[in-house]
């Protein structure tokens, strides 16, 4: 049985830990709210751009536009979005596992799969097992459109230089505070959204030509997708951290309860022992 003092010390230390996890939960909750707002705010732009793209892709000749062109898929690029910081439950582990699975399954389909990681955790995990083409760390603390555009342009450039023929994006989509969806989407070549046939599609005036417009809008589409995945991933990360910290706080409380019980028992035992000694001492004097 550990000594009273040792138990007391453990209780204090667990209490301190609980305080930290509680504080982290609060911080994550605040950050989550902001991240969620960002996700919602970005939605109309992505949606409208999608609509425009759909209309353009439907009505114009898509031949000869490189970003839409399906090439023989030999080399692929996988973009993995993780977080920069840990302590968020299975958030990073899950996405890394999904990346591993993807690499294993598709190994036979492609001659080479390169990796681009966004976020420090994914890079740390994957760099020992695979070669990383590029890494972007420390972009997730405040995801902004410029960074997303930069990454997207880099990816597009590589695609146009035929460094890879297909690009996939793997990230945690934010579903709710409790759960994240691991989402895999094909970024390039762009799969135009399935167009619904409108009955009276109005005749549009295009300026400059449709083809020109399409050429300009496609890179933007990629940028928006990258931007959205960053925002979603950040929101999911804060959600995951909040849940993890909540359960950590709960576990700490439980542990404190158990330790307090143990402490009281030990105290009781010590008192009983002392009493016994006093009584037996008194008995022996009496006798």
């Amino acid at each position: 049985m550990p000594s009273l003092k040792a138990i007391k010390k453990r209780i204090t230390s667990v209490k301190n830990t609980r305080q930290i996890t509680k504080a982290m939960k609060m911080v994550s909750a605040a950050k989550l709210r902001r991240a969620q707002e960002n996700v919602v705010a970005a939605r109309p732009y992505a949606q409208k751009l999608g609509e425009v793209l759909e209309r353009l892709a439907k009505s114009s000749d898509v031949e000869g536009i490189p970003l839409l062109e399906k090439r023989a898929a030999e080399k692929a690029l996988l973009i993995v979005v993780t977080s920069d910081r840990g302590l968020c439950g299975g958030f990073n582990a899950n996405i890394c596992k999904a990346a591993e699975r993807f690499l294993k399954e598709k190994k036979s389909d492609y001659s080479e799969i390169s990796l681009l990681t966004i976020g420090r955790k994914g890079h740390d995990f994957l760099k020992n097992r695979h070669s990383i083409w590029k890494n972007h760390a420390n972009v997730l603390s405040s995801p902004n459109y410029q960074i997303a555009a930069l990454i997207a342009r880099e990816v597009i450039d590589g695609f146009l230089l035929e460094e890879y023929d297909e690009v996939f994006l793997l990230y945690n989509a934010f579903r709710s505070v409790m759960s994240q969806d691991i989402t895999l989407t094909q970024l390039l070549p762009i799969v135009p959204p399935a167009a619904e046939e409108e009955e009276h599609a109005p005749e549009y005036i295009y300026e400059p030509s449709k083809g020109e417009l399409l050429k300009e809008i496609l890179p933007k589409h990629v940028e928006v997708q990258v931007f959205r995945s960053l925002l979603e991933s950040v929101a999911a990360e804060h959600g995951a951290r909040m849940t993890a910290m909540d359960s950590a706080s709960k576990n700490a409380t439980e542990m404190i309860g158990k330790l307090t019980l143990q402490y009281n028992r030990a105290r009781q035992a010590a008192i009983t022992k002392e009493l016994m000694e006093i009584i037996s001492g008194a008995e022996s004097i009496k006798g």
């Binding site: 960002n38 705010a41 970005a42 109309p44 732009y45 992505a46 409208k48 751009l49 425009v52 209309r55 353009l56 459109y145 555009a149 109005p202 005749e203 549009y204 005036i205 295009y206 300026e207 400059p208 020109e212 417009l213 300009e216 809008i217 928006v224 931007f227």
Partner: protein, 138 residues
């Protein structure tokens, strides 16, 4: 025919404005154009430039960075990367950016990769100052 046209301005960060307006003027890929209520369906890319709209008697100006404008059924949707209302423009910053871009352009030649980038920065700064000046005159 509708009397008004709904102008919606959307950036990746937020919806900047949704308003019923009388007239919109913007700089397209092929030059400046105006949109009145009842315009035919229309899709164009926008250059770095100015967008102004008339509502009642008042004219408002915005500085835009690259984007699109779509007109459909008395609704004009503008998708842009950044949009700043005249009163949101930081004139000092725009001036500083203009100075920086001018300096950089002096050193670069047309062949340089950064030339286009700096040129765009110069344009953006100029437009911002122009829009801010218009707002100040009122």
């Amino acid at each position: 025919m509708a009397e008004k046209i709904t102008l919606e301005l959307v950036t990746p960060y937020r919806k900047v404005l949704t308003e019923e307006v009388d007239e919109i003027t913007a700089t397209g890929a092929l030059g400046e154009f105006g949109v009145l209520p009842g315009h035919a369906p229309f899709l164009t890319s926008l250059k770095i430039g100015e967008l102004s709209y008339k509502k009642g008697g008042a004219v408002s100006h915005l500085a835009l960075n690259w984007g699109y404008l779509e007109v459909k059924e008395d609704k004009a949707i503008v998708l842009v990367e950044t949009a700043e209302r005249a009163d949101e423009i930081d004139l000092e910053r725009a001036k500083a950016a203009l100075g920086r871009a001018e300096e950089a352009l002096k050193k670069l030649t047309i062949e340089d990769k950064d030339y286009r980038v700096m040129e765009a920065a110069l344009e953006r700064a100029t437009i911002r100052m122009q829009v801010a000046a218009k707002a100040a005159r009122k």
